[in-house]
């Protein structure tokens, strides 16, 4: 499937301040996806610095020239996808899987998560992970507005509700507690319903034979050709597409708009 | 040089100069308070002393009784009063400490030992007998820092920021002392045969350590006109407004040349220096002595502000 994405992030504030942002907004071509075209434009800040981080993400650092009241970041492009049942395999990257056993503040397992995870243990890693996926999808309802970006896996699991970030965090905490390396992935989802959120997040876990495999507990499935994978990290904070620091007084408002659509030509060719 | 370094050098010099000026004012206040006023009391005028030090409103906000003990403690040791001698010495030293690498060893030792020794003093043990000695010591230590700077500091940007801190503060201090007592310097006082004001003129001169210099320079008794001229316009008098501006303008010029910037501060500083050079006391009195002093204080502060902007103080 050919998927076109337009992802706009805008920051506005009343008082001017210097802004520094690290962008993880460029998907890479790997098993299941080929990036056909992609570009990132930024108004209100200059770039000039790109590197590949430990997780293989392309990072771009943006900094405003002096104080500014607004920064608008637009990522846009087209990605060709195919359904691999979530299998990403062994993409080239520096981190070793064992690093993805580290817990972070957002992904620390508590007794409840450990107990839940223990009930999911099966013969193989893959079977275990599918048990976690199914169990989690059943146990934690998808509900917006009850959790925030700093909600921990343990808190969301206790509340039995959350959004994709929470599902991913709980999945990661559970997998790690079973000794299976897991990590957080951001991306886009081409949804069937027009008004559903298109910016998405899920988890990846390591299996000895298949390598990294995606698990989307919020939707109870492994990623398909309707998913575009953007960036990975130990948790949502590390993998965030835009991470910023503002140097100055005052507060700011953040607005994110993501449009994902099946590319016109692709739709036609598929009929 | 870092903008922060320039800022710290400027404020280090300003705070040390302020400590010295406060010590001088406190000494004068102390002296006046033990001279009989001929009416069974003493000439005591701590209110004028605190006003000259620019801290009368801060003192009054406390609602404390104003007497020798409270005034002296406020001026010397008060931790909550931003411009007590104690806090000036600490601020001078902390500014110096933050830019230790921009100072010479001699300067740092002068700053550091002054603060360490002052901080060790127990205010309760400083009776009237030791007060004068302590204030003399503060003035000597300020002189020691300045001497160390003149004798050891490279004549680069840092030197000029120190100079600017010193002379902007000194000009401010002299103008403030005049502003508080401007009324006794008006020509009408002399016309009235103002012998009664003699001690007021004497006090003004003492506040800038200029009694001896005045007599040596004018070979005359104290006359308000000459006192005003001496402290405003005489280039020979090292605490006069003219003298301060004669150091401020060249340092601003040197900085502008070294850095290729500093246009705003240089324009303000040069204009003020040129005006002081081109005027005389009659013109000032016609214009109004009070108005003149107020304008000077405002323009002096504007130079300080422009300096901070021009050289990226923060």
């Amino acid at each position: 499937m050919r998927i076109a994405v337009t992802h706009t992030t805008s920051y506005h504030s009343d008082t001017p301040a210097r802004a520094v942002q690290a962008l993880r907004l460029v998907p890479r071509s790997l098993r299941g996806q080929t990036v056909l075209s992609w570009q990132v434009r930024v108004e209100g800040a200059g770039g000039g610095l790109r590197y590949t981080d430990a997780f293989g993400n392309a990072v771009e650092l943006m900094a405003s020239h002096g104080p500014t009241t607004s920064v608008v970041i637009t990522a846009e492009g087209v990605v060709e996808t195919e359904d691999t049942a979530g299998v990403v395999g062994f993409p080239p990257e520096a981190v070793v899987p064992a690093v993805c056993l580290r817990s972070t503040a957002l992904t620390e397992a508590d007794d409840a998560i450990r107990a839940f995870a223990a009930t999911c243990r099966r013969e193989t890693a893959l079977a275990t992970l599918h048990a976690v996926l199914d169990g989690l999808h059943a146990a934690v309802a998808y509900e917006t507005g009850t959790t925030g970006s700093f909600t921990t896996a343990a808190a969301a699991f206790a509340a039995k509700r959350g959004v994709c970030q929470d599902h991913a965090h709980i999945f990661i905490a559970a997998a790690r507690s079973l000794g299976l390396p897991a990590r957080y992935v951001t991306g886009y989802l081409l949804t069937e319903e027009a008004d559903a959120v298109a910016h998405h997040a899920w988890a990846e876990a390591m299996t000895p034979d298949l390598g990294w495999v995606g698990f989307d507990a919020a939707n109870g499935q492994c990623p398909t050709d309707r998913y575009v994978r953007l960036a990975a990290g130990l948790d949502a904070a590390e993998a965030a597409p835009v991470r910023g620091v503002r140097l100055g007084a005052g507060s700011e408002t953040l607005q994110v708009n993501v449009g994902v659509q099946a590319s016109q030509s692709q739709s036609q060719s598929q009929g | 040089m870092l903008g922060r370094t320039a800022s710290s050098l400027f404020w280090m010099a300003r705070y040390m100069e302020r400590a010295e000026n406060l010590a001088r004012l406190a000494q004068v206040g102390h002296r006046v308070s033990i001279i009989p006023d001929g009416m069974g009391g003493y000439r005591e005028d701590w209110k004028a002393t605190l006003a000259s030090a620019g801290c009368l409103p801060a003192f009054e906000a406390r609602g404390a009784k104003l007497d020798a003990a409270t005034a002296q403690n406020f001026l010397l040791f008060d931790r909550a009063h931003a411009s007590s001698i104690r806090n000036c010495l600490e601020n001078a030293r902390n500014n110096g400490r933050a830019v230790r690498t921009a100072l010479t060893r001699e300067m740092w030792e002068a700053l550091n030992s002054t603060w360490i020794e002052f901080a060790a003093i127990d205010p309760a043990e400083v009776g009237p007998g030791r007060m004068v000695e302590l204030l003399d010591w503060v003035r000597q230590r300020s002189g020691q820092l300045r001497g160390a700077m003149l004798g050891s500091l490279l004549r680069d940007e840092g030197f000029h920021f120190c100079q600017l801190g010193t002379f902007i503060e000194r000009g401010d201090n002299t103008a403030r002392i005049l502003d508080v007592k401007y009324n006794v310097l008006l020509p009408v006082n002399e016309a009235l045969g103002g012998e009664r004001n003699q001690h007021q003129w004497d006090t003004i001169l003492r506040s800038v350590s200029a009694v001896g210099a005045y007599r040596y320079f004018y070979r005359d008794r104290l006359r308000p006109r000459q006192v005003a001229e001496f402290l405003i316009l005489r280039p020979e008098m090292p605490r006069s407004l003219r003298f301060c501006c004669d150091f401020i303008a060249p340092s601003l010029g040197a900085l502008a040349e070294m850095t290729g910037g500093g246009a705003a501060s240089l324009a303000l500083g040069s204009a003020l220096a040129a005006e002081l050079r081109g005027t005389d006391l009659d013109t000032i009195l016609r214009h109004g002595l009070r108005e003149f002093l107020q304008e000077f204080l405002g323009r002096n502060a504007a130079i300080s502000g422009a300096l901070a902007t021009d050289y990226h103080f923060d």
Binding site: R50, Y51 | L2, G260, H312
Partner: protein, 482 residues
Amino acid sequence: MLKTQAYNTGNDTVCFDEMLRADFSARECYRTLFEWLQRQSPSGIRAKQAEADAIFRRLGITFAVYGAAEANERLIPFDLIPRVISAAEWRFLERGIEQRVRALNAFLHDIYHRQEIVRAGRIPSELVNGNSAFLPQMMGFDPPRGVYSHIIGTDIVRTEEDGFFVLEDNLRTPSGVSYMLENRETMMHLFPELFAAHRVAPVERYPELLRQTLQSVAPSGCDGEPAVAVLTPGIYNSAYFEHAFLADQMGVELVQGSDLVVEDGALWMRTIRGRARVDVLYRRIDDAFIDPLNFRPDSMLGVPGLFDLYRAGRVTLVNAPGTGIADDKAVYAYVPDIVEFYTGEKPILKNVQTFRCSIAEERGHVLEHLEELVVKEVHGSGGYGMLIGPRSTRQQRADFAERIRANPGNYIAQPTLALSTCPAFAGSGIGPRHVDLRPFVLVGDRVRVVPGGLTRVALKKGSLVVNSSQGGGTKDTWVLED
């Protein structure tokens, strides 16, 4: 003034003395000093000690004692009597230290790349990959010249003639080098004749060597002379004096986070002329605080985006972030294996035997022998969070046993070492006091071990804790030339 009988009876524990043998004869390298000490009068020494104290107080060498708000400025005691190291002893130490820092740098490179040592099963994966001092963000990055830890202060103790042990490797931001330099200046000022009677290897080139080392690891894209700056947390940091001192001696800027800005893909400092480029940053701020964008978001000390610049190869951070994994107290036990793995040689310097409480068998041994052992927190420093078994009370041991059982991974234990003693001026006379040694090593285009170091001395009679935060002092360290 020195009476040999009195000196040695002051030595309450049986341990190696750096100056006197058991038969009261002086060891060769101490002969001149010993004779000189015998000629000094107590009042003369006292006068010199007062002079030295005055020099240090004036210099503002101050040290913040944590938790003592009122006494936040305090002098580190300086002991007049130098610690002497013979040329042969030094050659041995130098070789041993160099071997160790090369191996530890190789270890850092390896664990931030393919982790061969983990794959080979020589060190547990969890100890590396699960360690809080390990920074996953560093993986796959190649620092200039492959150097991670450029500035190192190796803590060494001695228990006998040939018994040198490494106690800690200090690969993050070791401090104390300013004391080495100031102590030397003070000794040359106070005792020129004694100094001249020895052939003491000079240490005063350290700042110049440090600058060369820093410039030698500039980013590859840097043209012209690399611009170096020292990043300090500010004047309230306990080692601020040292930061200022080193910047001054090297002739480079001392900056705070607020002086720096990341812009146009480079690091700049704000100067009175506008912005100026920085190529190499000697940062004296802990990893967690260097960049609020990448690490602790509440840090006011760092520079947002600094780590991104570093990873993109636009600026060099010295020492590299994530070097703490190599001086982690739990990793310490593996250093002999690390040395063998990367150098193929036997370690020259010995490790102190270390029991890891995370391992059940070793924990059992520790809990049974608390009275003989020193127990340390894995991430503790400064001599805090420590139990010195032989000097502990029953209650303290019971408390520690409980803490170890509750969180075994947080503790290691080592036998109590009979640290060597060295003559020190103890107010009334000269007596033996326990010492350690911290030589300073620079790693850039080559490895340089400066001949000397910081000797720390436990001035309290019989005390084994040399940390300045707990009553330790310092001495000048004389490495003799042949």
